[in-house]
């Protein structure tokens, strides 16, 4: 695990081309944040990231995949997912070469 985010924040990790786009591997962002608002939040910080990276990437919270397909991503309990303080969220773009 990376170092714990400060109080009231979550860790945001950027892998592969997400890291190239943001020019960083990790940063902390204010929590709580509804998962449905994650992409908007990142787009505001890094204009163009949605189209270039986010739309085709997979997203994990605390090392588990979350489905971003719906307008309001829901957890197993059927409630909208909210990113909590201390969570670790990651953007994983596909890598294709070999």
């Amino acid at each position: 695990m990376t170092s714990k985010p400060p109080k009231g924040r979550f860790n945001m990790l950027y892998f592969a081309s997400a890291g190239s786009f943001t020019r960083k591997q990790v940063e902390s962002l204010p929590a709580p944040l509804p998962l449905a608002k994650l992409f908007d939040t990142l787009e505001k910080r890094y204009e163009g990231i949605r189209e270039s990276v986010l739309d085709h990437s997979l997203v994990t919270i605390n090392l588990a995949y979350v489905d971003m397909d719906d307008d309001e991503p829901k957890g197993e309990d059927g409630r909208p997912i909210v990113i909590q303080e201390g969570d670790e969220v990651a953007i994983i773009p596909p890598v294709s070469s070999g």
Binding site: T2, R23, S52, T60, Y65, P94, V95, S96, S97, G98
Partner: protein, 486 residues
């Protein structure tokens, strides 16, 4: 020569498919036909057979299995070495390329003496020296929508070691339809990914909560081509791709030797095996950082979901079929290809490398004209056009976005100037001095022209900003053949 004409028993691939399925239905076959090992096998495989969980049974499963490796490059070479070394009985290798010098830092199954040889032949030469016992089947051409099903069908497991998204989607789709487990790895620059898909295989459309996902379940949308970087363009570290290829072989050997590829429905009583099935796979990602020691982010295993209900290939209402794929539906190239170019520069905003050189030589360029080179600094470090200023494309995009934000926030321009190269500082704008932009191949430079205009560097249209058509590749072809183009 018989090997060259086609896969085993594949005059009609379905024979092999049904024989594999039949095998799974009986206990003896699931474990592979029992026979004593030959002395040659016993000696060669002794060190791996004594590993707990492997044994003679696991070894016989490997010997009786057929693995297809698609791609004989940075992933395929290390993967094939371990698959062959472990004694997998039949190994098919697909690749249409020939060995080049620039492959050799990572493609460890080839050699300097085999430059120019077909990669499949080169790799099989290497593998035969390593282990003469397996049967090697070369497919010295690229896999495509027409031949994919015929090539894949006779095998028990497929390893995707290819280098582009269109082929990855094709291979995954065919593996769903002919029900083969797929071990998929990928790597570029400093990142690697590995995932076991479609294992154990289940019929298309079956969604009972226990079925494993396919590639499309994990990555339903292909990355836009603009963000796609190949090893040729972005570079690749040998150990990164090697690590992924070796790990890929490890997964393939595990699946075959432990019979994880056998659908759980055919063995309902063997709960131990059912538990070991991979219906909820993990995606392993490897991040290699040239600027830091091995750290907490180096390896991560991410828990993935099972089959996606709405998946185009394996989901509930999928209409994907082998006949469709053969006749061009879906169109993989189109699915993964360029959308209409967004940057339509006018003719006055473009100049050829030759024209630029002529203007410069004849002294027709104003003294303060600027040449911005948007390649990454590593590319720039090997050489550039005289007087060029390096402003890497990614940094330029970030800067442009920040300028835009600053403007909409009422203009905090000093902050922006800090990150512009000195030569581009906004207060030095000279209306008479054009800016030329050059990149590696002429795509980024067009977008860069747009962005520099957006940033106001065209001084409200007074200053010309122009793209050098075809980038440094054109420069090498047209102007300076000695330029060290990478």
């Amino acid at each position: 020569m018989e090997e060259r004409t086609g896969p085993p028993s594949s005059q009609n691939g379905t024979t092999a498919v049904s024989s594999v399925r039949k095998r799974t239905s009986t206990e003896e076959s699931r474990r592979g036909p029992s026979r004593p090992l030959t002395q040659a096998e016993f000696e060669r495989y002794s060190r791996q057979m004594i590993v707990p969980g492997m044994g003679k049974e696991g070894q016989l499963r490997l010997i009786n299995s057929r693995i297809l490796i698609i791609g004989a490059g940075g992933l395929g070479c290390p993967a094939a070495q371990y698959v062959a070394g472990a004694g997998v009985g039949t190994i098919g290798i697909v690749d249409g390329d020939v060995v080049e010098t620039s492959n050799l830092h990572r493609q460890v199954g080839h050699s300097t003496s085999r430059i120019g040889m077909k990669k499949v032949d080169s790799l099989i030469t290497h593998l035969r020296h390593l282990n003469p016992l397996p049967r090697y089947i070369p497919y010295p051409f690229h896999i495509n929508a027409q031949n994919a099903a015929d090539i894949i069908s006779p095998f028990d497991l497929v390893m995707d070691c290819t280098d582009n998204p269109a082929t990855r989607y094709l291979i995954s789709d065919v593996c769903v339809l002919v029900q083969k487990p797929l071990v998929s790895a990928a790597s570029v620059q400093k990142s690697g990914q590995l995932i076991v898909l479609n294992c154990p295989p289940a019929p298309q459309g079956q969604l009972d909560g226990t079925t494993a996902p396919c590639y499309r379940c994990c990555f339903p949308k292909p990355p836009p081509p603009s963000s796609m970087v190949s090893c040729g363009e972005a570079g690749i570290m040998g150990p990164v791709v090697g690590m992924m290829g070796v790990a890929q072989a490890g997964e393939a050997l595990k699946i075959i030797s432990s019979a994880l590829n056998i659908p759980s429905s055919t063995q309902p009583l063997d709960s131990e095996v059912v538990d070991r099935n991979l219906r909820q796979p993990y995606l392993l990602i490897y991040s290699y950082d040239l600027e830091a020691a091995i750290g907490p982010m180096s390896f991560r295993a991410l828990k993935m979901a099972g089959r996606r209900k709405k998946c185009f290939a394996c989901g509930e209402n999928s209409t994907l079929s082998l006949e469709g794929i053969r006749s061009g539906t879906p169109n993989y190239e189109q699915f993964c290809s360029l959308p209409a170019p967004k940057h339509a520069l006018s003719a006055e905003e473009r100049i050829t490398a030759t024209e630029y050189q002529n203007l410069k030589e004849r002294g027709l360029l104003p003294e303060h004209h600027l040449l911005v080179d948007t390649r990454e600094k590593e590319h720039f470090s090997f050489g550039a056009i005289d007087g060029a200023v390096n402003f890497p494309f990614g940094k330029l995009l970030m800067t442009a976005a920040q300028v835009k934000r600053d403007k909409s926030n009422g203009g905090a321009e000093p902050q922006t100037q800090m990150i512009l190269p000195n030569e581009l500082a906004l207060d030095t704008v000279d209306g008479n001095a054009p800016i030329f932009v050059v990149c590696r191949r002429g795509l980024d430079s067009q977008e860069a022209v747009e962005k520099l205009k957006e940033m106001g560097l065209d001084d409200g249209g007074k200053r010309k900003i122009m793209d050098i058509i075809g980038g440094m590749r054109a420069w090498k072809e047209e102007v300076d053949s000695t330029f060290p183009f990478i």
